[in-house]
């Protein structure tokens, strides 16, 4: 390595380290402080907990005074069901739009790409009315429906790109073999889409899990609250129970991190597969 290369490499790493600190810092801060007593949170917010400041009071309060486990399971149900539907319908739609030419296929593709550009929140009022009249107000189903609609356009867009990279000969070979179209999709195409599906899964899950807006307007009773909404009850207008807020937030972060760790290898393969042939 020449000095010039070394200098380049060091500067690139400095930038990446700085970016990582910026991204991870707040999360680390939240998790760290959730294990401290209230006075230490404000006294020395940047210090890790030590023997004198360590406390689980936040977690105790969260479990005692709220239905955190219920919120948790609500969030999990909504996120996982939405993800499964987005992936299933997204992959099927992407396959249909890239593989078959049918009347209106171009219009349909265009319509779906509009969904990428127009934020779904613009339709909040209409969605609320629709859910009301459909009797789905204050149900998890309403959330799932909204999130599927929100996630589909992008997932179709990404998966179409990946499907186009699967050699055409493979589908033709399967057709010559007499494999029915639906089985070609599920047994030849879908297994080859695994990295892409992992990528789309992460991109779908994170915004759903973190969403506060739609739970706020579509759910009202405690039994349908999600984690992000449940945390709000510790944020008061006059007093905020920071111990509980930080503890609940830490717990809310956990599943996303776990899913990311599980999918990260596939995710990286998915992100780079277009770049390196």
């Amino acid at each position: 390595m020449t000095t010039e290369q070394r200098a380049r490499s060091i500067s690139v790493h400095l930038v990446l380290i700085a970016y990582s600190l910026l991204a991870v810092g707040p999360i680390l801060l939240v998790v760290m402080n959730s294990f401290k007593v209230r006075s230490a949170i404000f006294g020395s917010p940047l210090a890790p907990p030590d023997t004198s400041t360590f406390s689980l009071i936040g977690y105790e309060k969260v479990f005692r005074s709220s239905h955190i486990l219920l919120y948790y399971s609500n969030s999990l149900i909504v996120t996982l069901v939405s993800m499964a539907l987005v992936l299933l319908f997204g992959a099927m739609a992407a396959w249909a739009l890239t593989e078959y030419r049918f009347r209106g296929s171009t219009v349909l593709a265009l319509f779906l790409s509009i969904g990428i550009m127009v934020p779904i929140r613009l339709g909040s009022v209409a969605i609320l009315n629709m859910m009301r009249s459909a009797g789905l107000n204050d149900t998890l189903t309403a959330l799932v429906l909204v999130y599927v609609a929100q996630g589909l356009p992008m997932s179709i867009f990404i998966l179409s790109e990946f499907i186009q990279q699967i050699p055409k000969d493979l589908r033709d070979a399967a057709r010559c073999d007499g494999v029915p179209e639906i089985r070609i999709f599920f047994e030849v195409v879908a297994p080859l889409l695994r990295p892409a599906i992992a990528t789309v899964a992460v991109f779908t899950i994170v915004p759903i899990w973190n969403d506060l807006w739609f739970p706020l307007i579509l759910t009202s009773s405690d039994s349908t609250h999600t984690v992000t909404l449940g945390v709000q009850q510790f944020l008061g207008q006059y007093i905020t129970d920071w111990n509980s807020v930080l503890a609940a937030l830490s717990m809310a972060i956990l599943p996303v991190v776990v899913i990311y760790v599980i999918l990260s290898r596939q995710l990286i393969a998915g992100l780079t597969s277009g770049a390196v042939k």
Binding site: P167, D169, L170, D172, A173, A174, R175, C176, D177, G178, V179, P180, R183, E187, V188, P191, L192
Partner: protein, 362 residues
Amino acid sequence: MANLRIEQLNKRYGATTVLNDVNLSIEDGEFVVLVGPSGCGKSTLLRMIAGLDGASGGDIHIAGKLVNTLAPAERGIAMVFQSYALYPHMNVRKNMTFGLKFTGVPPTERERRVAEAARMLRLEELLERYPRDLSGGQRQRVAIGRAIVREPEVFLFDEPLSNLDAALRVSTRVEIANLHRLLKSTIVYVTHDQVEAMTLADRIVVMNKGRIEQVGKPLDLYYEPANLFVAGFIGSPAMNFFEAKVESIEGGRARVTGAAFRGLDVAAASLSVGDTLTVGVRPEHLVRGEAGAFAAEGIVELVERLGEASFAYLRRVDGRMFVAEVRGRQTPAPGETVTLVAASPDVHIFDASGLRVATGTR
């Protein structure tokens, strides 16, 4: 096993015509090779036989049955792709049996067919491997195995050897020929390589720009090409062409002259005085000498030595080049002026529209 009949087949993509009135009849058990330059529509024709692409017009019959509207799997065909198209996430055994599940072949029968194909193609050791762990030649054999287990009426091959290195290409070529002898099935085989075509085919179909130029036995195409395109395409190095004119006709013999060769007498047949012709002679039919029906002179510019034979590139008097094969150890030196002659059966005459003129020399 079955015969194959193609009638007035057309394929258009928008305004571009890819196949133009293709008519072809293939006998039961025949090995037919479609050959032609890249982009002439060979793959398209094969895919239409397979049912992967629809026709813009015309009929395809397999085993006497009109198959225009049948799906690929219902046509009794199996196709081997240039890219092999093995399912990457299935091992060799699964690659071969996957399709059989859907065509109602019972499991024991599937196993029997796989075992037999594996024995025939020396794949027994590889059955549990995945495509990524196979060499190019092995993948090729798996692709052929996958076609064999379907026990099709017609095998379709699309440039199956073009991804192999030269040595493997030769040995796989021999294997495919053996396979045809063993299975006695109808095979339609696409290649742009004329050596493959000549060595494998019972009959060759030469295609150009979406049309069939000539159909015939390999040596018939070589010795009696129907037109300039086939004459130039079959044979390597390509046939030499010389512009010529009919100077006079006398007593049933036509005197053909041109700027770059000495006058030539051929049977007059359908020729008339003043006709513009092209005279063709293959490099391997030219020998050094003075006496011959055809004689041309040139200055040697370059000699390619291949061992048994060498190719001399000569500049003609009209400034263009021609090639002659020289056998043995004595090769002409660059700069030398050489006269090359050919016997009259080896001289091909084509008329102004490029069609072969029967001059009764063969």
